[in-house]
């Protein structure tokens, strides 16, 4: 019974699929990134500096992108980094990673490998023990995006 697909059905089906897919792949927007950041930070002021977000400027494969975040902090009991959060603009979800530290960490550095769905900006935010927030933003050009190749 499923074999009797007419050319018209196939066309309509094709249009329906084409119409649905961009919606399914709907990435988050810079606005959603801002919302995700505010959910973590609250109303606090975010200042530029102290944080270094290290990413390759040009990425060939968005499926594994090495990323290092370094925060300039003495990491002593009275002055240390409490947490580092990373956010992105265009992946389906704005959060990338959240890491919690204590003065025992010695150095506020964390490295990992991430996925990027297209050319976009990433923001790293560090929460200090005194309650201040510092950030760094990097733009990354991605030639082969993660996630999306399966949809095409």
């Amino acid at each position: 019974m499923m074999l009797s697909i007419t050319r018209r059905d196939a066309l309509i089906g094709g249009i329906a699929v084409a119409g649905v897919l961009p919606g399914a792949a709907a990435a988050n927007t810079p606005g959603q990134m801002e919302t995700a950041i505010r959910r973590v930070v609250g109303e606090a002021e975010i200042r530029k500096g102290k944080v270094t977000l290290d990413l390759p400027p040009l990425v060939e494969n968005g499926n594994t992108v090495p990323m290092t975040i370094t925060v300039n902090s003495p990491m002593i009991k009275t002055d240390y980094v409490k947490a580092i959060h990373v956010f992105n603009e265009k992946n389906p979800q704005a959060n990338v990673i959240s890491a919690q530290f204590g003065p025992r960490a010695g150095k506020a550095i964390v490295s990992t490998r991430i996925r990027l769905a297209g050319t976009q900006k990433l923001t790293a935010i560090a929460e200090m023990s005194d309650g201040s927030y510092w950030s760094d933003t990097q733009e990354v050009i991605v030639t082969l995006a993660a996630c999306l190749e399966d949809l095409i």
Binding site: N91, A105, I109, S111, T112, R113, R115, L116
Partner: protein, 107 residues
């Protein structure tokens, strides 16, 4: 599913030194945003959290999201305070849970 975890911790360290710890675990980290050939969304299957305890005290913890690449690799640092055990703990979707340990001698 046997997940393989690789941990790189220096065997010995001087007291007060900052040591680097590298961890890698095998996991697909399926995002939940991809479709199979039939157009059905492949359900999410990721590691959601990773933590490290040094002689029982938590020194590092992360929350992981689908944006982390497959086979999560995480590097961090700690101060070598005393000889003992570093315990690593990964928790994920579908009841995924792995614990690993590494010994360190501090002089």
């Amino acid at each position: 599913m046997a997940a393989r975890a690789l941990i790189n911790v220096p065997k010995t360290a001087k007291r007060g030194d900052v040591i680097e710890i590298k961890t890698l675990i095998s996991h697909v980290m399926e995002t939940g945003y991809r479709h199979s050939n039939t157009g059905v969304i492949i359900p999410r299957d990721i590691i959601t959290s990773f933590s490290c305890k040094y002689n029982g005290e938590e020194i590092f913890a992360t929350t992981l999201y689908p944006a982390i690449a497959a086979n999560p690799f995480v590097t961090f640092h700690t101060v070598a305070t005393e000889s003992g055990t570093l315990a690593f703990h990964w928790i994920g979707d579908n009841g995924f849970e792995v614990t690993e340990e590494a010994k360190i001698v501090v002089e």
